[in-house]
Amino acid sequence: MNPVPLKESRALRWMIAILGLVLVLSVTQELARPETTDLISAGTAGSTLRRAVPILLAGLGGIWAERAGVVNIGLEGMMILGTWFGAWGALEFGPWWGIAIGIAGGAAGGLLHAVATVGFGVDHIISGVAINILAPGITRFLSREIFATRTGGGITQSPRVESVGHVDFPFLSGGEVFGWASPDIFGWIADRGWFLVSDLFAVASGITSNVSWATLLALALVPGTVYILWRTPFGLRVRSCGEHPVAADSLGVNVYRMKYAAVIISGGMAGFGGAFIAIEQTGIYREAQTQGRGFIGLATVIFGNWQPLGALLGSLLFGFADALQLRDRTAVHALLLLTGVAVAAIALRSLRRRQPVGGAVLLAIAALMLWWYSVTESVMSELPPVTPHIATLLVLVFATSRLRMPAADGMRYRKGQE
């Protein structure tokens, strides 16, 4: 019942899962060898991580709000605020200030959502939609006022901004220690070409070299969120507002204050995600550059069963699809093979669990995927960007019974009323 992350058994299970994933990827890579070499590589791993961060941050934002019982459809709008304010801050005061101001911009959006939903009791979806309409209006106006007059800027984009800087991990990926270049152990093993082992280390090398400091900060927010929400009195109070606000109130919890805090933090996380896109991913603010990542973040909340680790997993999955499509179009075709293999594996598991009907259906899907792979040369370029959306729909359709949202999520709460 009580989600206690990172128990020993759980850590072990995670490691096995990761190893299994790398194994599947390695095997698929070998099968698709002449066509693509990008299915599992240091480059793809690094790119996956970069692509996953904004989705992860939006997802964490969603978890904060929904754990406090406030549905936050406005994540997309708050992210948009984050991109603009992030770029503006980076331009005026430097990249770290940009991140901070982007967070503040998103948090301001969160505050607005909290005032409407918690303060005035407006329906959460309606308020979120309104924020998604308002945010692009604000950024468009501000761009016109501030970016349009600068060289390289315009009504829809900012001048280029600097990123916060990158780091190679010392000893693991050849980072420098006080000016001395340490050995690149991961990279060395990755270059050996040992089956599975090299692939594993290529992934490790990809996610430990040339890593943005902002990425590390974002990743630290995963255990940070777990710790605060599940290990501190404040977190317990926040979650109690999402499960049973009336009971929380009867125990002396200031429900309004907790909800305000959680929704503002939620907006701040989304704002960070937006700032990350502008400052780290693209180095420029561009209108509509969030491309609905706030909504995908919302999807990872459900995908990950309202758990930060689940959201991380979901964002990595979606980041992978994103990265592969950007790096190498042919790799996307190989993705069909991968999906086919993965579905076949799930089908076998279903059959072993004596679920013949489900297993048969999955086997048929796997066969279809592999057939599709074998008869086509490439896959339509429109497919990979929507894989997160299709995956989310499938998860919702087939795994609804295993998901458990906070009990009072999305409900209006007025003090003194049942």
């Binding site: 016109r144 009504i155 299709i390």
Partner: protein, 380 residues
């Protein structure tokens, strides 16, 4: 009593609009322009016949989008997917219209039916998933939006693209003369003067008006519309009195999608005669805004759509004259939506408190103790 109700009903939208104008004016002052000049400029430009024609043309799809959203909202069903539904419906309707030749009224009718079918098919998926698998329609329609856009992109690039096209602008083939919706310039010009600048008053506004009236009659005069309304007001009471909640969800979703399918048609049938890359996007989300402002009532939505349409048509003058950036209008629109929903919430709470007080007074035992109880009810 009725006078008070009217005041209450108007209090929220009027104060929300006033508040939004105030906020936008403050923003204009902050960037160093005179808000009064800007608003006056917009007003005088906005009263020209050509601007009003443009307003009507912009308001027509917004109104349809607002109705499509409102059908769902009336039973607490959030069809965020109008955006995707109208895009794919417009593409397929335009292609179907180009692929055939029929006598004029029939041709248009077939295109309209195709658009409505495609729209409701797409929204029906969300409805089906909700009643069979319990998937919340907000999430499923958001996901379906992305899927619809991907499908539109793929179909545009492959099967439905105009094979004779030599430019890089992807488009479908053009609809023949018989499938084009006539404009209302002749009718308008008999009452006013000639419309300048090649502007045309789109005829689809008639269809939009009919949809609004049918929507109103459906809700107030039919059994099925009544089911839909009471399900929105109190789903438990509705189910207890014999309304099938699943059928109602499916029906509302299908109807919403069918109207959504119409949103793109003013542009396809009256202006472009084809679907291309410049097809207007974002009408579905704007429709949500318009429905929220109009409180899901056909007349209110008309006011919202006309307001948004007018703001969009009158704003460009700000750039021409250089008084203020026209983008101020998008802030104004955003603030209107948010402050309107807050204002409605506050007014409905005030009204509830008042009703509770009236009821308490009306039913109170004529003893001092009764008054105490009535006051206690108001305090909440």
């Amino acid at each position: 009593m009725t006078a008070r109700r009217v005041v209450m009903a108007l209090a929220a939208p009027v104060s929300a609009f006033a508040f939004s104008v105030l906020i936008s004016s403050a923003v204009l002052v902050a960037v160093g322009t005179n808000p009064i000049d800007a608003w006056a400029e917009m007003l005088s430009f906005g009263m020209r016949l050509e601007t009003l024609v443009e307003t009507s043309n912009r308001a027509t799809p917004l109104y349809l989008a607002g109705i499509a959203v409102a059908i769902g909202f009336r039973m607490n069903l959030f069809n965020i997917g109008v955006e995707g539904q109208y895009t794919i419906a417009a593409l397929l309707a335009a292609s179907a219209g180009a692929a055939m030749t029929l006598p004029a009224p029939l041709h248009i009718l077939v295109i309209i039916i195709v658009a409505m079918l495609v729209g409701s098919l797409f929204s029906g998926v969300a409805g089906y998933l909700k009643v069979t698998r319990g998937v919340h329609e907000v999430i499923s329609t958001i996901m379906l939006n992305a899927i619809a856009w991907a499908m539109v992109g793929y179909l545009m690039r492959t099967w439905l693209a105009d094979p004779n096209d030599t430019t890089l602008n992807l488009k479908t083939r053009e609809i023949a003369e018989s499938g084009r919706f006539p404009n209302l310039n002749g009718l308008l010009q008999t009452f006013t003067r000639d419309i300048k600048g090649g502007r045309e008053l789109g005829g689809f506004i008639i269809v939009a008006a009919v949809v609004g009236i049918v929507f109103h009659l459906y809700l107030t005069r039919t059994r099925s519309g009544y089911d839909l309304r009471i399900t929105g007001l109190n789903p438990f009471a509705a189910e207890a009195s014999g309304v099938d909640p699943k059928a109602t969800v499916i029906r509302a979703m299908l109807l919403s999608g069918a109207v959504a399918g119409l949103i793109g048609l003013p542009e396809i049938l009256g202006d472009d005669f084809k679907y291309d890359l410049s097809f207007t996007k974002g009408l579905g989300f704007a429709g949500i805004a318009v429905a929220l402002i109009g409180r899901n009532h056909p007349a209110g939505i008309a006011v919202g759509a006309l307001l948004f349409g007018w703001l969009d048509s009158a704003a460009p003058i700000l750039d021409v004259r250089g008084d203020a950036p026209r983008e101020i209008v998008s802030i104004l629109q955003g603030v209107v939506v948010l402050s309107a929903v807050v204002a409605y919430e506050v007014v409905s709470r005030v009204r509830q408190a008042q009703e509770a007080r009236d009821t308490a007074i009306a039913t109170a035992v004529p003893q001092p103790a009764g008054d105490d109880r009535a006051d206690a009810g108001v305090d909440q």
